[in-house]
């Protein structure tokens, strides 16, 4: 833990700028993956709408700052809160449905956000996006930006950790494991699903806003379906039923993208192949597999000593 913190603090002074930027991006993607996992991994709701929410967070920040002349701290506060509001409204309609129907309705809303961004040229700049975001000078250098964004991400991840470990998080997991059972131990399933979805949207909006800061603008690509698949991919890669699984997955995704992507333009081929193999042979994810091996060993020891 302390070692990790030390690495984070020392890192920007020993590596080049491109690495600093890469790690900053990684931090944001980790937050996005963990935010998404509140919906998918923790509560067991498959959502394809998070691309739209990620884009919404980014555009709200950029529009507020460029068109509304709002200072960054306020914009950074407004983005997740407004995204959470949007998520709440979408979720209110979506939680009436279950399983694949829920997934497809979120997909529709994600696409609706994407289409709105794409078509409302006057506000969003359409497919040119919105560029030229002015960052306050304190945060302008890559190193300072790195520290600011990492601090925010760490706070957010800590909040997610607290939520997941709390009785509230435990309740969400009971819903994931068995909805009918959860209902008849007195849990209002729909209400908790909506709360989880909204919380997930809050952190997704924050991740989107931070991403916009890093990219100095917002672009339609932020809100695509492909963007919605990323955190799901990260969750499957790392394991979505263990807390750090999606973070690990996001890290692997970005490093594969960066390093394999540097050698070949056929990165999707590698990513797709990996995904197919994972789904077929390691559905728990890498961290998830390690965790369950440990758990099984612990239970065996327990049983043999009992």
């Amino acid at each position: 833990m302390i070692l990790g913190l030390a690495v984070i603090v020392v890192l920007p002074f020993v590596v080049g700028i491109s690495w600093v930027l890469l790690v900053t991006e990684l931090a944001i993607l980790v937050l996005y993956a963990m935010a998404y996992n509140l919906t998918m991994g923790v509560t067991g709701m498959l959502s394809f709408g998070h691309g739209g929410l990620f884009g919404a967070g980014a555009y709200i920040l950029v529009i507020a700052m460029i068109k509304g002349d709002i200072a960054m701290p306020y914009a950074l506060l407004a983005a997740p809160i407004l995204t959470a509001l949007i998520t709440f409204v979408i979720g209110w309609l979506c939680v009436r449905l279950t399983g694949i129907y829920f997934a497809i309705l979120t997909l529709a809303f994600g696409q609706l956000i994407w289409a709105t961004i794409w078509k409302m040229r006057t506000i969003t700049g359409g497919d040119d996006g919105l560029t030229g975001l002015q960052i306050p000078s304190v945060m302008a250098s890559p190193t300072n930006q790195y520290f600011c964004i990492l601090a925010i991400v760490m706070l957010a991840v800590l909040s997610i950790k607290i939520i997941v470990d709390s009785p509230f998080g435990f309740t969400l997991k009971t819903i994931r494991e068995n909805q009918t059972r959860a209902q008849c131990i007195g849990i209002n399933v729909k209400r908790y699903q909506l709360l989880a979805f909204t919380a997930s949207g809050l952190f997704t909006g924050l991740a989107g806003a931070l991403f916009a800061i890093l990219m100095r603008g917002a672009f339609v690509e932020f809100a695509t379906v492909a963007r919605a698949f990323e955190p799901l991919f990260a969750g499957i890669l790392g394991g979505m039923h263990v807390f750090w699984g999606p973070a690990f997955g996001a890290g692997m995704l970005l490093s594969l993208d960066t390093f394999i992507g540097a050698y070949t333009e056929y990165w999707p081929l590698v990513a797709g192949g990996t995904l197919i193999l994972l789904v077929l042979f390691l559905p728990e994810g890498i961290i998830g597999r390690i965790a369950s091996i440990r758990k099984a060993r612990a239970q065996r020891l327990n049983q043999s000593s009992a």
């Binding site: 998918m40 498959l46 309609l93 009436r96 449905l97 399983g99 694949i100 129907y101 997934a103 497809i104 309705l105 997909l107 529709a108 809303f109 696409q111 609706l112 289409a115 709105t116 078509k119 379906v225 698949f229 799901l232 991919f233 499957i236 056929y266 999707p268 081929l269 990513a271 797709g272 192949g273 990996t274 995904l275 197919i276 994972l278 789904v279 077929l280 559905p283």
Partner: protein
């Protein structure tokens, strides 16, 4: 705008819708029988379209050959993919969707590798060139051809499903696979056949779509979303529902273009959201 022009637009919408019907019916069939959400379904459509492009480039009158061969190619590929999906039949839906997403990425890149990233046009066969005067406009023969082919296949599909032994087996397996299997029907084989037939339908859809629009990478994602909207509106698992959904999709989209050109798709999303909220199993679907 005159009534003629609106009717003309409706007719083109019917053409597009019937083309999508070939895709949506297969998607619906796979879901209904195998309980698999084949997110990669439009990829078979796109592959068939590219194969068609290659064949028409090789032979002067290759389109008709392509119409036979390309869907078979899509079906064979589908058969291989079914073997992968079969490992996930008893798993949660999201694993099937992730497998499909993997297939989309892999096939997408392979298509890029084979055909490059520029858009492709398939030349219209001479017989289908031109149009017929209709409602004060010139209605393209290609659209008539598309409507005819899709309608013929739709009727054939209906006859097979409701009038033959295989069709009865398929519907029985959709209702209760365990029971059907216990009655001695080889459900495993049935699943492969259904998956291949559905991919063949997608393939035909892809080949005839080349007459209406160019082929481009990433087109499969756009089309699969359309197909999903259709089966959601019509009802997952219902062939008749796909037909109704396809026609609604085509016509609403075509009319949407007249009203608010940039938001035509938004009308369909709103329609789908309304259906999902008020009739989650679709207009002609049944709860399962």
């Amino acid at each position: 705008m005159g009534l003629d022009a609106i009717l003309f637009q409706v007719l083109t919408g019917v053409g597009k819708g019937m083309n999508l019907f070939l895709l949506a019916s297969g998607l619906s069939l796979i879901y209904g029988v195998l309980n698999v959400v084949n997110f990669a379904h439009a990829t078979f459509y796109l592959i068939a379209a590219y194969i068609c492009y290659t064949i028409t480039g090789l032979f002067p009158n290759g389109y008709w050959l392509a119409l036979i061969l390309a869907p078979i190619g899509a079906a064979l590929l589908g058969g291989i993919c079914e073997r992968l999906f079969s490992r996930l039949y008893d798993k949660e839906h999201y694993t099937q969707i992730m497998l499909a997403w993997g297939l989309i990425l892999v096939f997408g890149d392979l298509m890029k590798l084979t055909w490059g990233s520029e858009g492709k046009m398939v030349p219209t066969p001479d017989v289908l060139a031109g149009g017929v005067p209709l409602l004060g406009g010139n209605f393209p023969i290609t659209y008539i051809f598309v409507i005819g082919v899709a309608a013929a296949i739709g009727i054939a599909l209906y006859v097979v499903l409701y009038r033959t032994k295989v069709g009865i087996d398929v519907r029985a397996a959709a209702a209760d696979a365990e029971m059907t299997s216990a009655l001695g029907v080889p459900v495993d084989k049935l699943y492969i056949i259904v998956f291949m037939v559905a991919c063949w339908l997608a393939g035909v859809g892809g080949v005839i779509a080349t007459l209406l629009s160019p082929i481009y990478l990433g087109g499969d994602l756009e089309i699969i979303l359309a197909a999903f909207i259709i089966v959601i509106i019509g009802g997952m698992g219902s062939i008749l529902g796909s037909l109704v959904g396809s026609l609604i999709y085509g016509v609403v989209f075509a009319l949407g273009i007249l009203v608010l050109p940039r938001f035509a798709l938004v009308f369909l999303y709103i329609l789908m959201v309304l259906v999902l909220i008020f009739r989650p199993y679709g207009l002609l679907g049944r709860p399962r």
